[in-house]
Symmetry: C2
DNA sequence: TGTGAATGTAAAACATGTTTGACAAGGAGG
DNA sequence: CCTCCTTGTCAAACATGTTTTACATTCACA
């Protein structure tokens, strides 16, 4: 699922590694999610939203997603 | 993570089985999530919110959750 | 009574998310 | 040039979410 993590992260001048620490996951996890390798867990989604000063609904772009 | 799925589901007079069909998962999955056995995936969280006419942020009760 | 609808639960298999450790490449600045 | 920081990536192990099959309980109601 697409998201605006990279954009918002850069606006706040944070590295992937810093966001990782703030959200209690590894840098690889943040990198994978920014590059759409997989979706975060619901908990991580909430932590990311909090960390980037937004909401889950705004941070992630859910499109009915019929594949 | 706590949520208001059961309440909102009943307001709409839907059974767990009906919500399951609407969100493309099994009845057991809906039951487990309502009873806090585990958290849904981010995708399922969005589908549940859509199905129940609300948002992910309103449907789930995220509390910084330090355990 | 008894039948069907709704819910709770459980184990095994399977799918997806996360960590660990490691390596490569680009840019900024000494 | 050298070094550090940042980002991308990969494979194996591990953790969590989901399905399948199956059974038990309760409630409403014929």
């Amino acid at each position: 699922m697409r998201n605006s993590i990279a954009v918002r992260r850069k606006q706040r001048q944070l590295s992937q590694a810093e966001v990782a620490v703030l959200t209690n996951v590894t840098r690889q996890t943040i990198n994978a999610i920014e590059n759409d390798k997989y979706d975060p867990s619901l908990t991580l989604a909430f932590e990311l939203a909090a960390c980037l000063g937004t909401t889950v609904d705004e941070l992630f772009d859910f499109r009915g997603k019929r594949e």
